[in-house]
Each structure stands twice: as structure tokens, then as C-alpha cells.
Symmetry: C2
Subunit: 366 residues, 2 copies
Amino acid sequence: MAAIAFSRRLRRTNFAEGVEAAGAKGYTVYNHMLLPTVFRSVEEDYHHLKSAVQIWDVAVERQVELRGPDAARLMQMLTPRDLRGMLPGQCFYIPTVDETGGMLNDPVAVKLSEDRWWISIADSDLLLWVKGIAYGYRLDVLVDEPDVSPLAIQGPKSDELMSRVFGSTVSDLRFFRFGHFDFQGRDMIIARSGYSKQGGFEIYVEGADICMPLWNALMEAGKDLDVHAGCPNLIERIEGGLLSYGNDMTRENTPHECGLGKFCNTQTAIGCVGRDALLRVAKEGPVKQIRAIAIDGPVGPCDRPWKLMAKGKQVGQVTSAATSPDFGGSVGIGMVRMTHWDDGTELTVETPDGPKGAIVKEKFWI
Amino acid sequence: MAAIAFSRRLRRTNFAEGVEAAGAKGYTVYNHMLLPTVFRSVEEDYHHLKSAVQIWDVAVERQVELRGPDAARLMQMLTPRDLRGMLPGQCFYIPTVDETGGMLNDPVAVKLSEDRWWISIADSDLLLWVKGIAYGYRLDVLVDEPDVSPLAIQGPKSDELMSRVFGSTVSDLRFFRFGHFDFQGRDMIIARSGYSKQGGFEIYVEGADICMPLWNALMEAGKDLDVHAGCPNLIERIEGGLLSYGNDMTRENTPHECGLGKFCNTQTAIGCVGRDALLRVAKEGPVKQIRAIAIDGPVGPCDRPWKLMAKGKQVGQVTSAATSPDFGGSVGIGMVRMTHWDDGTELTVETPDGPKGAIVKEKFWI
């Protein structure tokens, strides 16, 4: 085990006090900020997430705010997903690409109004790309990182806990829609969303001062629901096929390779800077694609790509993996060439503990 | 102590095998990559750095490569430092700013030729800004991250070690100049530079395959010089006044606030996107500035800004601090308002262990 060296550059979130009191044992760094990765154990956190309710400090999902007359135009420049039909109150998952069609991020767009948007980002300084494009095109738009700290409530008892704090109307929210709710006189934007398949919400908390009061109120309200501090769970997110930018995909990959073709309206997303580059792949399809990979037996941490082999030749790589209590053996996410990506294809994965059997799956586990 | 959770997203460098074998005990994350922070102890590493020679895996200093007819024009857009007089073979420390004059990075520019440059970056995805500007302005230039892994040789015995591996002419290099040298038939760009005040070199190693052979050759050649694996040392870099982007300065700060006004030729750096915004501060000077801060007694890790107080009012903050074996008490870097930045001003710094006496210093320790 190696220690993480704390410094101001690895920013503490506005919920850090709560996270530390809850006994976070491990961290990763995400958008230059600390993200807890485990509280009790990854397995214990996993079972609890699937049965109760957790509060996650996901303030690392920094927002890029676009505000001004050209905000909508700039948004469309960033993604091959057609945003014309998107209404205020909606969240859209938007693959974000550069001029070559390479993935720069896979954020969630939050449309506050016609001229005000948030982009809730994965781990890259997307702000710099958006600012560069806005400046280069002389767009009439302000681009900045606001003081917004997302807090996720995840797990089967999320609706119950949220209703206690925000009133029962919060349960009326549909998936990837958001509404405005009151907490101690402050307006909170709450969406039904989150980085798990167990259901839940994300609260976009504006203002550092109200973060810990909200954290404490949720903890207090959920005592009899066995609420715990939690965090994105490696096992559960792999079982659910939730991709991780930087792990499962990088700037090297197109959205289509990442299985995100369904979010690309390449024909109609006029203005997207990567559109020209993606037209061909959108038509012909990618030659490799992300797949669920079942692996024999337990695995250690996947801290570098593991080669996927067939008859001594590399045909892909695994980029996320974890031993699964609920499904036996290990669950993984990998990128596989089209010659070997069919459901049920048997491969070998080269792990640090030696080669193991692997099977390509069409669908993820949950 | 909290553990760091390893994943592919926290990229291993091409020297990781050597770093791990040498027993790195702690890491930070820098440009989405692992950077070791301590081997034996920070104090032991410090004494050794000041007396012998160390090999540092600084592959986290990723390069942004600019190549093409518009490369020089794009370079000048990034910085208020006038680059017109810069020759191939030179390295320039270039504060890099956005359109508001806020610091985006403080990299070293490496001019390979008129139409080919590297930018050796600090911790932010500067690539995305450079690509955005290049795209927005339709510049005729390729911008990418090449397969280059810098390796630093630092300490008073650096010249001796480097001469053994690259021949004695490497000692002729002047500060912030680079030359081409051979290693096993491969061309290596070597500069006299590095993130310490103990003297030394940085080797820009092109190609993943040659990284460990070079690491091993240097280790072998330096055995009788007591060569050790090392890393940027927190204590020594504060004593030397070497700033850390993300710690001591952020996008909130102008170069002038960071004491980098001497690297800004705001009048003549025509084309710099932040020039207009910096003209006023360049003329009138900043209202706060980075200073060396001596602190009474030992300190723990500075993982968030510590307030600098005078008569109950905040007049600045400390952003880096460490107990200093050679200078007694603790050494720090902070940002102080002009009302209190004079040499010898006595302040109080609010540390997690309570308030401590602090003195503003005009100059750093080494």
C-alpha cells in the first residue's frame, strides 16, 4: 500500500470534513481534487450500496458553466449529440470530442435555461478546451468553474431519504430530469441521476457554506435507514457498465468505440467540431468496441491495461476489473477488436497474476 | 495515512518499474500520472539530494508538442514572455495565461526548431487549451502529447554521473540550454535544468522502450556516487522558492502576483491572448505577491491554504510549508497583500496545530 501525499493541489472538497469523519480509507485524484474510493471495504460498501442508501461526496464532478447568448451554440460545438430538442430541466449524457473525434470527456450537460448550462465533467480539464474554443471563435459567452459541489444520494432507499429532507415531490423526478428544491432557504438543483445502477439523486450544491449542513441533515434524517458515507463503487460500476473516462476510454478513442454511438447524432449535430471526423465511423462503425468481460476467478487492481489475447495475438485490452461477490469470478470492462467481440467469445487476459480465462459478453451484469 | 487507489486513470510512467523497485512510499497525482513524493523519508531524501545525486522520474512533466508553420505564432499566443529572441537549443520558463491573464500553467518551453516546440508542463491539461486555441484560430499546426518521458538527474554529483553515461561534453551545457546526446544509438535531448537548486539535468527520453535501459544505466554508473532514486523534494523546493502550480498559484492569479513579472514582456509580447488583461497589472504592479514565509517551529502537511493574519485581519495565505532541517523552524511559500509584504513583517499563520509566528522574507533560503 502506498500513501497519498496531501497538498493544496489535490483540492479538498467542501464535504471533506464529513468524508474524513466517516473514515475514508483510500482516495483517488479526480479533477485535481480528492475522491474517496473506500470506507469500510470495497466489498462491504458494495453490499451496503445495493441494500440501503449512501451519501457520496462527488464534488470532483466539477461544473463548467456556460452563460450568455452563444452558450447553446458553444454547447453544440462540444458534442456530436444533437442538443436542439433538449429542454431546461433535462440532463443529457454528452460524449465530448476534439476535432479528430477523440473523446475529451464524457460529461452530463445540465440545461438551466437557454443561455445558461452546466457541464458536469469527468476527469479532464475540459474547462480549458471550452475556454479555448470560445476565445478562438470570439463567442459571446462566459465560461467558468462555479462554486458548485455535487452530492449524490445512491441506493434503493434514496427516494425515502430524499423525501424526508426535500419533501415527497422529489420522488416525482424522472430519470435525468432535475428540479429546484429548498433546503434551509437555499435553492438546490436536484437531478435523478448518479454513477450507480441502484437508483438515486445528485444534488448540485451551490455555495461552500451550505455543504456540510446538508451533509449532516441527510445523515441525521437517514439514521434508521442505515445511511452511510459512500463513494462510486468499483465493483458495482463495472457490473453496471458505467464507463470511467481515463480508465476505459481516452482521447485515443471515438465515442463509437466506447459504445456511445447511440448518443451521437452525427448527421444532424451541425456545428460539432468533431463531426467531420466522426461521419465515416458513424456510417461504417468502429473496428473495436467496449465490451463486458467476465474473468475467471478473483483479480487484483487493474492499474494498467491488461492484454486480451486469442491464439497468441492481442485482440483487445481490459481496463477495469474487480472480483464480484454477486456474480462470481470477476467483472471487467475492455475494448475488443470486431473479430473477437461477439457474445461468448473465449479469450485469455494477461493479468499480473498470470493469464486467466475471459469471456466477452454482449451485456453488462446489471 | 490514507492509501492511494491505483487505476489506469492514474497513469504509471515508463520508469515505474524502477521507482517501485526503489521503494517509493508515497505518491501524488500530476497530469493524470503517478509522481513519487518520498523514498526513504522526506528528510533523508533531502539530505541526500543536497550531498549526492538522485535520479527522478518526472515523466509527469508531459510535453505538448507544437509542429508546423504556425507553431511559433501559437507559442506566443500562450505567454506574455517575448519569445522572438529565443533560439533553438534554448529552454524558457513561460508563464502561460488565459484571456483574463490568469495562470493556466507555468511550463518550460523547449524550442527544437523554428517550427517544432515542446511545452514541458506543470499540472493542468494545457494540451486542451492549446488545441482549442489552435482550432479556433484555424492555425496550421499539429498539437499533441508525444511519447516523451523526462528523467531528471539532480544533486551536486550530477555532472559526474552524467559525464560517465553521456561523455564529458554534457558538462558544457549552460543553464536552460539543451543539446543532443547519444544513448545506445538513440538521440536524447538533455537540458541543464530541473526542479531543485542542487544543479542537474533533465533528459527528454523519447520512446517507452528506452526508459528503463537508461534508468538502469544511470543507476549502475552511479553506484560509487551513492546514486539513489529520488523525486522533487518538498523541503528543498520551498527553500529554493520553486513554485508549484496548483499549490502556490492557480488560475485565480496573474504571473505578476506569482513574482513572475520578470518573465512577462507585456509591452512587446504581441499576440499573447492575455496581453490586454495584463497591461494594467504590468504597469501598476500587483496588490498581492508570493513571498517566502518563515514559520516558527515544525509544521504538518499544508493540504489547504493557511490564513496569514495581522491584528486579526487576513492579509494573505500560506500554500506550501515544511519543517526545514537546515534552516530551523519551517519554510513556507505564501501570497501576501502589499500592505504586509515587506521583508521582516511579522504575521501569524493559522495552522491546523494552532497559530504560529511567521515572518515575511524578501528572498528564499537557497
